[in-house]
């Protein structure tokens, strides 16, 4: 309180009203720029990213699906990345397979969402020429189970206001507590190939 009064007094005596207004004006500008730089994160986002998986066994019908309504957000200031997959959006060629996937394996009525949250290691937007390689580490949540993935290879390329991000990794059905019944075990691979492709637009 004392300090406030003293300062006020000092301003009152040393500066006239004009200088005081000027100082205030600069102060407001400064405040504005500080807050603007804090708030404005460069975010890239897509609503129709593609995530696919395949668990096919050679010479049997392909077990493959793709989802092209995936939301993904990349924060280009620090390399933070998040994706949200609506499990019902996975489309199979075979309708019965799609039904079984939703009802028996992914149980999409109980677990409608799959999410990924992670960070691109040593991300630097200025390094994004065509086909830069990065590594991403993060957590994938699917079928109510969370699993951490380390150092998934990701290629990024930037063109104008767009960053394209793609890559693939492997995982096991058992990692996500998905049981494959004995009768179909030889028709569905235990190792699942997952691939993703996001065309992120500057927001």
């Amino acid at each position: 309180m004392m300090v406030y009064w003293k300062t006020k007094k000092a301003f009152g005596t040393v500066f006239d009203i004009h200088t005081k207004n000027k100082i205030m004006k600069y102060f407001v500008y400064l405040l504005f720029f500080i807050s603007a730089s804090l708030l404005s994160q460069t975010k890239y986002l897509t609503k129709n990213g593609v995530v696919g998986f395949e668990a096919s066994v050679p010479s049997f019908e392909e077990v493959k699906a793709s989802n092209n309504a995936v939301t993904a957000i990349l924060n280009a200031d620090n390399g933070e990345f998040a994706a949200l997959v609506l499990v019902k959006g996975f489309r199979f060629k075979n309708a019965l397979m799609e039904e079984h996937f939703n009802e028996n394996y992914a149980e999409s009525d109980i677990y409608p969402k799959a999410t990924f949250k992670g960070t691109l290691k040593d991300f630097d937007k200025s390094r994004l020429n065509s086909g830069s390689k990065f590594k991403i580490t993060g957590e994938l949540m699917f079928h109510g189970v969370t699993k951490t993935f380390d150092d998934i290879d990701v290629s990024l390329s930037s063109k104008g206001n767009e960053i394209q991000m793609s890559g693939k990794f492997q995982t096991l059905a058992s990692d996500f507590d998905i049981k494959i019944p004995k009768i179909v075990r030889n028709k569905i691979a235990e190792t699942i190939d997952v691939d993703f492709n996001f065309k992120l637009q500057l927001k």
Partner: protein, 125 residues
Amino acid sequence: MKKLIVIVVVIIVTIVIGYNYIYQDHRNIEKEQPTYRAEAKLLAEEFSATPAASEKKYLNQTIEVSGIITAISDNTITLDKTVYCQFSMNISGLQEHNRIQVKGRFIGYDDLLEEIKLDQCSISN
């Protein structure tokens, strides 16, 4: 002889039924009657009030939504900034700010962007 014919017919029928079961057609959302009809704005209010319950209620259901187009990209439109509809057909004739009625399958609530997502959409008016 009669017995043989009966057996053959039964086998053929079983094969046909089995084949049709395994290779059945996908749902045709365009031809389905909507289970729910809603205004995009009201639907959005319902979802922001009770996200989990609403998601459960509409999941995998065919809904008919009407609203104003606020964004268009390749094969998707957004109604009233909250309902995201993905089409499988060409939608080049649509324009922003127009009122439209869309039928599609609800696949889930995107809580990152607070959007309601529909796929296999078709224009119903």
